[in-house]
């Protein structure tokens, strides 16, 4: 098994001590990993480091969007050729992420976006499905992108795309912001079927439906110019 040192997985983590080491160990044999410890109160950073990741630590919690941008900046500075954004809670499948990278390279794409609705979901609550479907309709209307999924954290970006996209929404609205920038920058993108596994852990850690109100508020007040 060879490790691709031009491929960087960026993982934003907040209080993911119990899971992060396992997630990093799953990725590290294949690619470089940077975990951005977003002001965790637990030992997330130490666990990630022990798992084999580089660790950049936010001294105070700034949100997933801010953490991903930190990780992308770090990966680009280390010479990343491709960047994968990957969730810290074990929802994503490394093999599928590597398939997405291979597709990105083979087809010369700027971005490959994971879609759970082209692929599969395991134990996805109905309420979450409903909220994500609503987000898909909203994203299609606001960006014009003909997507089947929105707010899927598994994405592959080419170096060029990762440099062009700047995440200014510090919190959860970054997912919509990335799609909006992909549309605005006219990047060459495709969706790729992925499997999202909702475990008891990830459901407890993941987004609450009430967060959608916060996302709308963030989008309303915008981000720094």
């Amino acid at each position: 098994m060879s490790r691709d040192n031009t491929l960087w997985f960026v993982i934003a983590a907040f209080n993911e001590g119990p899971m992060i080491s396992e997630v990093v160990r799953g990725v590290a044999p294949h690619a470089q990993v940077v975990v951005v410890d977003d002001g965790s109160a637990d030992d997330t950073g130490d666990q990630a480091l022990a798992g084999g990741a580089c660790v950049a630590t936010h001294l105070v919690n700034r949100g997933q969007g801010a953490a991903l941008q930190t990780g992308i900046d770090f990966a680009l500075a280390q010479g990343a050729g491709h960047v994968v954004t990957f969730d810290a809670d074990g929802q994503h499948d490394v093999a599928e992420a590597l398939e997405m990278v291979a597709r990105c390279r083979a087809e010369g794409l700027d971005a490959v976006l994971g879609s759970r609705f082209l692929g599969a979901t395991v134990n996805m609550p109905f309420s979450r499905r409903l909220v994500i479907k609503a987000a898909v309709v909203f994203t299609r209307l606001t960006t014009g992108l003909n997507l089947t999924d929105a707010h899927n954290g598994l994405r592959v970006l080419s170096r060029d795309a990762a440099r062009k996209i700047r995440i200014r929404q510090d919190r959860m609205a970054h997912a919509s912001e990335i799609l909006s920038q992909i549309a605005r920058l006219r990047l060459n993108w495709r969706e790729h079927p992925v499997t999202i596994t909702y475990s008891e852990y990830s459901l407890a850690k993941g987004q609450k439906i009430s967060n959608s109100v916060r996302i709308l508020e963030d989008m309303l007040f915008g981000a720094r110019s």
Binding site: V36, G52, T57, H58, D73, F74, D170, F221, A223, R224
Partner: protein
């Protein structure tokens, strides 16, 4: 009488603060000063407030004050949220810079013959 004096004192304080403080927009400084000056005038001439209210179709001076206060409060809250977000943005940039500068690297096993890069 005491209420009028207290209200006048408050408006004078706002007038003084607006006069000495720097504002992002000069128009905002003028608006706040005009608001405070108008406040002092209407405290001592309440009938004029009622006339003004009737002029704009509100009816009573007290109603006009309520509406104006609501709008001003709303704008103040929106302004505070925007300022808080700007401060947050600066904090994010600072936190990011430090995180990257002070990143920790894992101990690497020696590269094998199959490794790339």
């Amino acid at each position: 009488m005491i209420v009028s004096l207290v209200a006048t004192g408050l408006f004078l304080f706002v007038l003084f603060v607006a006069a000495v403080r720097k504002f992002t927009f000069f128009g905002l400084k003028v608006s706040v000063m005009l608001f405070a000056a108008a406040g002092i005038y209407f405290v001592w001439n309440p009938d004029q407030m009622t006339r003004l209210a009737q002029l704009v179709g509100v009816g009573r001076g007290a109603d006009l004050i309520t509406y104006a206060t609501t709008v001003i409060l709303f704008l103040t809250v929106v302004g505070a949220i925007i300022r808080e977000r700007r401060s947050g943005d600066v904090l994010t940039l600072l936190v990011r810079r430090l995180a990257i500068q002070q990143a920790r690297f894992p101990e690497r096993p020696k590269a094998g013959p199959g490794s790339r890069g």
